[in-house]
Structures are given as structure tokens and as C-alpha cells.
């Protein structure tokens, strides 16, 4: 065991267990990691929290970016204020979440209902967001015991009017006795506690969640490859695995992590990390189930196949022909056999031809397989030198004819590859539709925009992957249609490309998922969105 440590730029260091490979050991224990790690807090503050516990939703990512938490206390508050209660509770026309963020960012002043509340509410910038704070107020201001304070919490939580009336009397009485606040303020504080119980969250839960959120963000910041490989592996358990895979890959790409097509040579069931690259697992291909995978492994072992040394026809007749056709085609179309340096269309064409052969003919093919021969030449030998029925000979001759004169091009078109990968893997890794279009006049990519690039006139090109039409709630155009568009290019995607009513009306004819468009516009005031002024259909 080496005594050396591997140190990151943020100062976090981990013991090296193998100097040659620079393998380090990481103990994912919250008590052993640096809670002040700048790298981790930067990641959270950038809203790069896809995959981070409690913060992975679009809402979590967006509020993490707005709040920019700097410690566990603030992270805990963030987790509490992005719950529906806070988001839906308004005070002075603004929800509690926004109040907290504005105060934290210095846009709103701290205002305590009474100075006696300061010690209790100081950590949450004068906002009552935890149930424990209500209990503490009852204890300190009205002299409640902790047990009584808990009864107060339960009564409010369960909305028991009779019990509430009794507790309110006791609270007001208690305040008189302690004489910290006057009667009116006591009434006001109780009213506030009552209201706050609709949104306040249990602090013990919130802090635990924050610890877990920090731990996952810490892992993502320091070991992103391992983080993404693990999250991709478990994407299957999500409600919409393909959407999860897509989001994770996009996020990985934004962090310059390479996610590669499945490769049959790896024989990995699930996503794996190999040489700093993440590879799709074979069962991550739609149509390749676990039973097919097990069968393939058995076949490879039984036939003693070395996939690194094996060539296409051997794989075709020893492996694919014995696999169910949906899985075999999915392996070809997803790119798992690309290393064989044959186009996917060509492999698919030859697979279809081979699947029409009888078992006896397949066995014969196996006997004749030679690195120098093509399927057509093998079938010609069988047709000429084997005793066949007239019907079988005709079928073989027809197959040879079409192998020699394919009725359509067997080259791989980018659009077809993109469609195949998108359908089978949930994401198109080799190319995107955008590759087929001329977007050379653009001056910003999705990734650059996300990273803050700005200019007076932004030109962005991408494929519409999502379109959300909604009605405006305020302003002169209240009730008019507007659109939120997700645009995707080779560098990532932006999910807040906004067409306000007038622009939407003008360009709605070109706003359809699958279209590749170029938008001209500017960055929104809050900096997160792209506000469209003009839009064009990209030319191929």
C-alpha cells in the first residue's frame, strides 16, 4: 500500500492504492469528506446537479443555480424551499422560495417580525421554513415545553380546529407570562406559525437530504466518469429510462466525458467505464434482453469465440444466427459490431440473407468460412457443389444475385444511423440530425450558450426535441400562445428557447419536433433562456 495521496485542485485528496495506474480509494462517507470543497459547491451553484440527490429535477437544477448555496445549512434550506408548500405559498405577491433566494442574494432585506425571533430564524434569513423553528418559537416566546411544542406542530399539521383553538389560547397566555412580545405580536406570530405549517419542512429530514445531495455532488465533481457510469447503469429503474439516459449523456458530454456506443467485444451487460470512457452495455440496447445476453455469453464460451480475432462472417454464423432476430438486428443497428468495419446496412442485409438459409446450409457456410471469402462466394460454392432441391437452389441463386446486386445502397446514411441509435439507445452518439444541415452561419452552440457565451445577436442552430405550447399569464398579450422549445445540437441541448406570442405566431409553422431550425435572438434578462426574435428552417 502506497502512502501517497492524489490531490485535486480544490484541495481534496485521496490515498493512492496503486501508483502505476494511479488508482485511488474513495470512502463515500459524509464524515470523511470535505464539506467546504469549492469544486463541489461550484458544481451545485452552476446548477449542474443532474443525478444529485433531491436536486436532479429541472426545478432543483434551476433553483440551485439561483440560490448558489455555499454550505450545508443553505443546501438544506434549498431542499426545503423547492418543495410544493414553499413554492405555492405567497407573501407580498412572491412565493416563500423567492423570498428566501432574494434575501440570500441581497435583493431583499432581512425583516424579523420581532427581534426575539432573530436567533431562531437567523440561519434561514428570517424565513420560517422548518417545523422545528415553529416549535422553537413556541418554546422560547410562549414558554412551551418541547412536548407541548410538538403538540402544536401536530395540531397545525393535522388541522384540528378544536385543538388549535386550545393551543392558540395557551400560546397567547404563554406569551403574556414570558412577556417577550405584546399581545398583538403574539397573535401575529401564531398566525404566521399557522400559515407556515402548510409549507414548512422537517429540518432533520432536510439536513439529511442535504448531506446526501452534497455527497452525490461531491462524487460528481471529483469522479464524474464513475458517477455517470453508475447513474447510467441504474437509468433502467427510472420511469422513463430513455429520457434519463438522454439527459445523463447530454450532461456527461457537457462535462467532456465520452460515452461510447455498445461494443460486443466488451461483453458488458450494463454500462461500464473502460479507459476513461463509458460504454453502453449490451442489455442497454432496446431489444437485447438479459436472457438473450446470457445466451450470447454461453454461445461465445461454447464456441470458444475470441471476439477480438473474429471476423464478420464468423460472428454472423456462430453468434447472430443463433440469437433472436430482433436482438441480432438491434446489435447491428446500434453499432455494437462497428469494429468489424462493415457498414451497418451491409451487415443487416447479409444477416437478412443468412436468416433465410436452412440449418444445413448454415452449417455448410461455417465449414467454408475463410477470412478471404464473402457470403456471396460461400453461397456460390454451396449452390454449385452441394446437392440441393430445385427450390433451394433457386432461393440460393436469388440470394447470391441480390448480394452481388443489392437493390439499394448499403452505405450508412447519417439520418438512418441517428434514427437507429436514438430508438435503440435513447441517444444518437455517432451523429445527430444537425450533422445533415448547414448551420455554419450560427455563432453559438448549446454548450457555449449554457456556459454563458453572449453577444448582441446570437444565432443558434439545433433540432427541436421538445415543444411546449403554453398561454401567457400576464402582460398585454395575456392568454396568447407562446412556446418553450428544446433545441439540441452536437454539443448538448437548451430547454428554454422561448418564442413569445408575436414571434410564436410568426414562426409556429416551422415549430415541430424533428425540425432543424436556426434561431436568432438574445439571452433573457435572468440569463438562463434564449429569447427568439427570428427563426429559419435549416437547409440540408
Amino acid at each position: 500500500m502506497s502512502s501517497k495521496n492524489f490531490a485535486f485542485s480544490c484541495g481534496c485528496s485521496f490515498p493512492v492504492i496503486d501508483e502505476a495506474s494511479q488508482k485511488i480509494t474513495f470512502n463515500p462517507d459524509i464524515n470523511h469528506i470535505n464539506l467546504n470543497c469549492k469544486k463541489t459547491w461550484d458544481l451545485i451553484s452552476d446548477g449542474n446537479t443532474k443525478g444529485c440527490f433531491q436536486l436532479e429535477s429541472r426545478l432543483g437544477r434551476s433553483y440551485a443555480k439561483k440560490l448558489k448555496p455555499e454550505n450545508i445549512e443553505q443546501l438544506s434550506a434549498l431542499i426545503a424551499i423547492i418543495r410544493p408548500g414553499c413554492l405555492e405559498s405567497f407573501k407580498d405577491g412572491k412565493n416563500i422560495t423567492q423570498h428566501y433566494i432574494d434575501i440570500k442574494n441581497g435583493k431583499e432585506s432581512i425583516d424579523y417580525l420581532h427581534p426575539s425571533l432573530e436567533p431562531i430564524l437567523k440561519t434561514t434569513y428570517s424565513q420560517m421554513i422548518y417545523q422545528e423553528q415553529a416549535m422553537q418559537i413556541a418554546k422560547d416566546i410562549a414558554g412551551f415545553s418541547l412536548q407541548d411544542a410538538d403538540s402544536l406542530r401536530k395540531a397545525i399539521g393535522k388541522k384540528l380546529p378544536e385543538q388549535m383553538a386550545k393551543i392558540k389560547l395557551r400560546f397567547i397566555d404563554g406569551c403574556k407570562q414570558t412577556n417577550i412580545v405584546d399581545n398583538d405580536t403574539a397573535e401575529q406570530i401564531f398566525g404566521w406559525i399557522e400559515k407556515s405549517q402548510r409549507y414548512s419542512f422537517n429540518k432533520s429530514h432536510s439536513v439529511s437530504y442535504a448531506m446526501n445531495a452534497f455527497l452525490s455532488a461531491f462524487t460528481k465533481a471529483h469522479f464524474p466518469q464513475i458517477f455517470f457510469a453508475s447513474y447510467l447503469k441504474f437509468a433502467k429503474d427510472k420511469i422513463d429510462p430513455q429520457a434519463e439516459i438522454k439527459e445523463l449523456i447530454q450532461n456527461a458530454n457537457e462535462m467532456d466525458i465520452e460515452v461510447k456506443l455498445p461494443d460486443i467485444r466488451n461483453l458488458n451487460k450494463f454500462f461500464i467505464l473502460k479507459e476513461n470512457r463509458i460504454y453502453f452495455g449490451l442489455t442497454d440496447i432496446k431489444g437485447v434482453g438479459e436472457s438473450v445476453f446470457e445466451k450470447m455469453i454461453n454461445t461465445i464460451s461454447d464456441k470458444n469465440l475470441d471476439l477480438n480475432e473474429t471476423y464478420w462472417l464468423e460472428i454472423l454464423f456462430k453468434l447472430l444466427i443463433n440469437t433472436n432476430s430482433i436482438a441480432a438486428k438491434a446489435l447491428i443497428q446500434s453499432g455494437a459490431l462497428d469494429y468489424l468495419c462493415k457498414t451497418r446496412q451491409n451487415m443487416l442485409f447479409e444477416y437478412n440473407a443468412a436468416s433465410n438459409l436452412t440449418q444445413k446450409e448454415c452449417d455448410k457456410c461455417l465449414e467454408l468460412i475463410d477470412t478471404k471469402t464473402s457470403l456471396s462466394s460461400i453461397l456460390t460454392i454451396i449452390s454449385n457443389k452441394t446437392k440441393l432441391t430445385k427450390n433451394r437452389k433457386t432461393i440460393l441463386d436469388n440470394t447470391i444475385y441480390s448480394l452481388d446486386n443489392p437493390p439499394y445502397s448499403l452505405s450508412d446514411q447519417p439520418e438512418w444511423i441517428s434514427d437507429c441509435e436514438y430508438s435503440l439507445l435513447g441517444y444518437s452518439l455517432s451523429c445527430t440530425k444537425v450533422d445533415l444541415y448547414d448551420i455554419s452561419m450560427t455563432n453559438v452552440t448549446c454548450k457555449e450558450f449554457k456556459n454563458g457565451y453572449n453577444s448582441q445577436k446570437l444565432l443558434l442552430g439545433g433540432e427541436i426535441t421538445n415543444l411546449n405550447i403554453t398561454k401567457t399569464k400576464t402582460g398585454k398579450t395575456k392568454g396568447s400562445d407562446m412556446a418553450f422549445v428544446t433545441l439540441q445540437d452536437n454539443t448538448g441541448s437548451i430547454d428554454s428557447v422561448i418564442f413569445f406570442p408575436e414571434t410564436y405566431k410568426k414562426y409556429r409553422n416551422i415549430l415541430f419536433p424533428g425540425h432543424v431550425i436556426i434561431v436568432q435572438g438574445s439571452r433573457s434578462r435572468n440569463g438562463d433562456s434564449f429569447v427568439v426574435e427570428k427563426a429559419y428552417v435549416a437547409k440540408s
Binding site: 436469388n398 441480390s402 439499394y408 445502397s409 439520418e415 435503440l424 409553422n509 428552417v537 440540408s540
Partner: protein, 227 residues
């Protein structure tokens, strides 16, 4: 908005009755419905051995169909017949056409006839689609309603109908035959009646009309136009 690709196809046959003739050639190209162009590498072209020759190699045609094919290919009747005899069996070529169409669904997984290409061509309602229906029954490429599942079930585009809509009060176009339309539009007739040449010409004509429609439709107010 249509996202299904458009397959322009055409049969060359050994007869003029779509309910009894056999295809000897089918060609197709695919139009990208978004950009309105022929998708690169989407050309398909295959020959079929006529059914009558599959059953009897010595079958003798009694119609003038061989004369027609010999004339348009500048060949002899005997040569045409010899070529037909060498073509792959109908079942084989049909299967390759089915495989080809599968490449152009809007989805790679969960393919259904709703993701299939839209059938288009010249005079396909009265001729080519009837052959498609017949062969789909023969080779069991059918949906639950026992109709072909190779193409999108709702929409089909017969370019001949399209010509009618635009020229029904125009005396300049004397007939709606593809040859005449080609000549009228100034498209070269070299290689005409080769299925691949015909589909490419048809596809270009259809693309022009679709662009025209898109251009006009954005300028026409349809909503509440009857009020």
C-alpha cells in the same frame, strides 16, 4: 404536420391488368417530408421473375406486352423474355422491398404501419397500389384489417390526381400520361419507362408541388373562411 417519409414507387409489369399481372421491376425513392428532398442513398431497384415464368419456364405471352418492353428498352422480345427468366423469384424480391421500406419508418423500434412511409406514385390508385395489396395478401404483409401494412394506412399521394387538380381547366395539357406530363414540364424522357427513372421524375414533380402548396398555404387564410 407530417413526419412520415414519402415513398415514391413504380412497378413495371408483364401485363396491364393490375389484378392479374406480375411485376418485373419495382423502383422507389424516399422523400424527406421536412426538407422536401430525395433522401441520399434511398434509391431502390429490383427485378422480379414473372409468376407465369416461375410456374412454366416455357410460357408464351399472348399479349403485346413483350413488344412494349422491347420497344422502350430498344431490345428484342426474345432478349426481354430471357432477362425476365433470369430475374429473382417474386417472393425473394418482394421480401427485399419489405426490408427496404422498414429502413424508412419514423421509428426504428415499435414499428407499425403508422410509422411506415406514405405511398406515392403516378396512377398508383388504379394500378400500383392494387398490386401492392395483392402481393401483401400473398406474402402476409397485412394489418388487422387485412390491408397492406407496408405503407401508412391513411394517406396516399397519386401524382396523377395532383396533376388533375392543377390542370383540370387548362387545355395546354392534352393528356395526363406521365410521358405527356414529363414533356410538358420539360423533363427529359430519356430512359422513360425504366421504373427508377420514372420514380425519380415523379418524386421531383411531387417535391415541386409540395413546395408550391407550402408556399401558398402559409399565405391563404383557411380558418373561418366559410363565415
Amino acid at each position: 404536420m407530417n413526419n412520415n417519409k414519402i415513398c415514391v414507387f413504380d412497378f413495371e409489369t408483364d401485363g396491364s391488368n393490375p389484378d392479374t399481372c406480375s411485376p418485373v421491376q419495382i423502383a422507389a425513392v424516399i422523400i424527406d417530408p421536412i426538407n422536401l428532398n430525395i433522401i441520399e442513398g434511398s434509391e431502390f431497384n429490383i427485378n422480379f421473375k414473372p409468376e407465369v415464368l416461375e410456374k412454366d419456364e416455357n410460357y408464351e405471352y399472348t399479349t403485346d406486352i413483350l413488344d412494349f418492353h422491347a420497344k422502350v428498352r430498344n431490345s428484342s422480345k426474345a432478349d426481354i423474355l430471357q432477362q425476365w427468366k433470369k430475374y429473382p423469384k417474386q417472393e425473394h424480391s418482394w421480401q427485399l422491398f419489405v426490408n427496404y421500406l422498414e429502413n424508412f419508418h419514423t421509428r426504428t423500434t415499435k414499428k407499425s404501419q403508422f410509422s411506415a412511409p406514405i405511398a406515392a406514385g403516378y396512377n398508383i390508385h388504379r394500378f400500383d397500389l392494387r398490386i401492392i395489396d395483392r402481393l401483401s395478401v400473398k406474402y402476409k404483409n397485412l394489418n388487422k384489417e387485412s390491408k397492406t401494412d407496408l405503407f401508412y394506412p391513411r394517406d396516399t399521394v397519386d401524382i396523377m390526381n395532383l396533376i388533375f387538380y392543377w390542370f383540370e381547366n387548362n387545355n395546354e395539357l392534352s393528356s395526363y400520361s406521365l410521358d405527356n406530363v414529363r414533356k410538358y414540364f420539360g423533363i427529359s424522357s430519356e430512359g422513360a419507362h425504366d421504373a427508377l427513372k420514372d420514380v425519380k421524375d415523379c418524386a421531383e414533380i411531387l417535391i415541386r408541388f409540395m413546395k408550391l402548396h407550402r408556399n401558398l398555404s402559409s399565405k391563404v387564410k383557411f380558418k373561418n373562411s366559410f363565415i
